[in-house]
Symmetry: C2
DNA sequence: AGGCGCTTGTGAAGACGTGCACAAATCGCG
DNA sequence: CGCGATTTGTGCACGTCTTCACAAGCGCCT
């Protein structure tokens, strides 16, 4: 499940603040989900908490990290050292959460050679060489949309089987390669949709006008946390 | 639906390449979804394509932009001008997709006054002043996790009702405020999970060992595009 | 005008995720 | 040792999303 990493983060927080065990209620609150859902997720792990007590924090961290494949620190290749690529290269959240940026690559010769955070930018055509040095399984694409497909092909060619794509486009990849997409503008547009919905509901609740103005009511969006606590 | 922005992006691409109309089949391919799903989504809009022909690209863009509330260019406040904040401030995808960064804010006095992309960084305590100048509805949090909740409270206090949170933590906000979260490390961890799953499947398919080694098989993750085309 | 091919819109079936509510299990205490 | 408080694990029901398959509608060509 995609919620496991969220649980893991919450568990690390709990461990740092000295908790040895945690109840499903407590953990679910920290992770922002329903407690029944959390218990069901953990039961799918085969993870055994003890009834009446809760879950052993350290053990649970270990189990989740195993399932997520974080027992080994995975090497990540980052392609595209523009605005966003720079930020990603300097993001310490990767290092602290089980990943190591093994190479920075770019197609622009004027960027090659630049040093960012202790790593030297290499040309994207050096990918085969890089892959020979390191065991690359994950690639991150932070290039403009126009270059993304070509970069994806190059990554796949050197054996990368998981791609995180920040470019606003659909990638086509062979079977067995996983792609996850993050589009920052889309996130904002979804929020904008919620704004529009809220505005129409409060402004003219009794208008009942054309089909268009009546629309924004009946939509549902996923992955949105709304109104948790106060 | 959360897919509308994806359709919108695909439609803009089609419009640029000169298409006047598009079939559900064509658009769904460009957006990376099932064609029946796309038709159902669009029918929820009340949007009328013409049978035998397809959808009018320009009209559909107009309709989706209306539903998403993109007819007005929304002002966004960006709090936290660190590594990631810098990148977001310089990201042209926001401007080109209906948003305008109206203010850059940070709590660190040494960062206040810095100019990024034509905007001067102001202190986060100036939020009420900024909100008085602009009609702020959306806030973006790109601060460390420790500061995120306080910033969220400040944003809510000045009337922001939608928050995009890049900090790895759960925010608590009053009812009526929408929060969307983007955690870059979590995306990588999900990919790592897939890697681990693939590795276990290919390496020891007949081992049938402990419960732990047998685990990673039966999981499902959402939002993952796998094996599109070749 | 009529027929044919193409495309939309939708009914129905199935898969999936979610949350409630409760039985089973464990610990601590008298 | 037994009892009560607490918490996990899960059966069940419900609503949502997804997908197939097909009827209805539109335009073009003859």
């Amino acid at each position: 499940m995609a919620r496991l990493p969220e649980y893991l983060r919450a568990l690390h927080n709990l461990a740092e603040s000295g908790h040895e065990t945690v109840s499903s209620e407590g953990l679910s609150a920290a992770a922002g989900v329903n407690s029944a859902k959390l218990r069901k997720d953990l039961s799918h792990l085969g993870s055994y908490g003890t009834r009446g007590v809760g879950y052993d924090v350290a053990l649970l961290i270990e189990q989740i990290e195993f399932v997520l494949g974080l027992t080994q620190r995975r090497a990540v290749a980052l392609v595209g050292v523009g605005n966003l690529g720079h930020a990603l290269a300097g993001y310490d959240g990767f290092a602290s959460r089980g990943f190591r940026i093994a190479a920075l690559l770019d197609a622009d010769p004027s960027r090659v050679g630049e040093e960012i955070n202790g790593l030297v930018v290499r040309h994207v055509d050096d990918l085969p060489t890089v892959a020979a040095e390191e065991s690359l399984a994950i690639g991150v694409i932070a290039t403009p949309a126009a270059a993304a497909q070509q970069v994806a092909d190059q990554l796949v060619a050197v054996g990368v089987t998981s791609i995180l794509n920040f470019a606003p486009c659909v990638l086509s990849v062979p079977e067995g390669v996983d792609v996850r997409k993050v589009d920052l503008a889309i996130e904002l547009q979804i929020l904008s949709f919620h704004e529009h919905r809220k505005a129409s509901l409060t402004a003219l609740p009794a208008t009942g006008g054309s089909a268009l103005t009546a629309l924004p009511g009946g939509f549902a969006t996923t992955d949105t946390q709304e109104a948790i606590g106060t």
